[in-house]
Symmetry: C2
Subunit: 267 residues, 2 copies
Amino acid sequence: MNREELITSIYSKKSLLCIGLDTDLKKIPPMLLKEADPIFSFNKAIIDATKDLATAYKINFAFYEALGSKGFESLEKTIDYIPKDLFSIADAKRSDIGNTSKMYAKSIFEHLNFDAVTLSPYMGRDAFDPFLSYKNKHVILLAHTSNNSSSEIQNQKLSNGAFVFEHVIEHYKNPSNTMFVVGATIPSSSQKKIRSICKESFLLVPGIGAQGGNLSDVLLHLAQPKPYVLINSSRQIIYASQKEDFTKAAHLEAEKLVKEMRTHINF
Amino acid sequence: MNREELITSIYSKKSLLCIGLDTDLKKIPPMLLKEADPIFSFNKAIIDATKDLATAYKINFAFYEALGSKGFESLEKTIDYIPKDLFSIADAKRSDIGNTSKMYAKSIFEHLNFDAVTLSPYMGRDAFDPFLSYKNKHVILLAHTSNNSSSEIQNQKLSNGAFVFEHVIEHYKNPSNTMFVVGATIPSSSQKKIRSICKESFLLVPGIGAQGGNLSDVLLHLAQPKPYVLINSSRQIIYASQKEDFTKAAHLEAEKLVKEMRTHINF
């Protein structure tokens, strides 16, 4: 999916919602455990129940890799099942270079056919050039993440006065298929600063809900001047219920978030 | 394997050699392609031919993931085949936090049972604490990598005068199961500086051979005052020949490197 198609999708669905498929055998409804592939059965049900509201799905690779080659099969089936008019994100947070980076790009953009991938910027441009060279595919660089220890490197001040995370955004914001991860948990002042550095860049925003980030702050500071932002929610939606009503409960939670988006944003 | 066992192994084998299993179907001897699992057959033959010389093996995850769940199976068989008295490194360069990081740790240290994993430091300590909490397991943080664009972030100067890569080493060098990736291609002055910051830390050094790093420089600057360093070679050894003699050729290349190590280091 290219940038224009993603923008069109956001305006036509009136939604910035990205649903994170952080699927964990210990948290899905126990009744699904008797299925041949419980992880895929759960994802399929969640996708069916929320695809009218979501603009994107994000698959967190760690949850699948923890199960070995069986988990990888569930991942393959899930990405195949996500409708092609929804934006798909491989949340793999890889960082590697040269041949290795090319192999990852091949795996994620060709074999699995995701629209986008999250990558760490620490090794520099060598790590994402092989991904950026794919047409209609996107790289989402970690800039300012939502975790507690993110300040240890990202908030170090450089000798020119910029923070490391600002340097990352400034340095890599072109070409336009580069997006950035910006946590909902960071201070409003940092959110505003980021938007002033990259007005046209897409941002992927984790951290609302359980992690403590505030949706209305994100909408106010990061979804302006244009709503080029995908706001992720994982647990709040997919684990809204552990009972038979889990798909209904997921739909309701997704709807709640999308309604708040529609109140704040003039789609 | 714990730190003391690794040190003992280095002194008894008189070798700092880590062999990188960057196994690529396009580069292995064509005669292996008729095997049921050519990747594993190749790795098995290379391990058999070099285990008397190597102290460690490093498995580059990207090469296996590019092949989907089949590749993951080859990876599982390979790690099972590496003798337990050799140090095994999951070259996965992951970076994630919280639950996700725990899932990766479980996958790499429990399911696959590697001794060590490479991780990116960009998200801070949240990303490696779940790994560091495993007894007798090791985290290898990217500090100063061997690629061309490594300077874009790693060589930025902080307002306190330190470079980002120095900050990473200084900030994270404890506990003692933390190691660092330091490229053989970086200037001698940076190599010396790094050793002065972390005299006791183990370093994983890629970049000799094809990438242009010099083995004798590494031995002089990074393997002193103590030889706490694993020097990686991948292509130079594993692809020394594409013919039937590939195991012999791999052994010869490995021997050449180990002989140079034994000339410089008083084991």
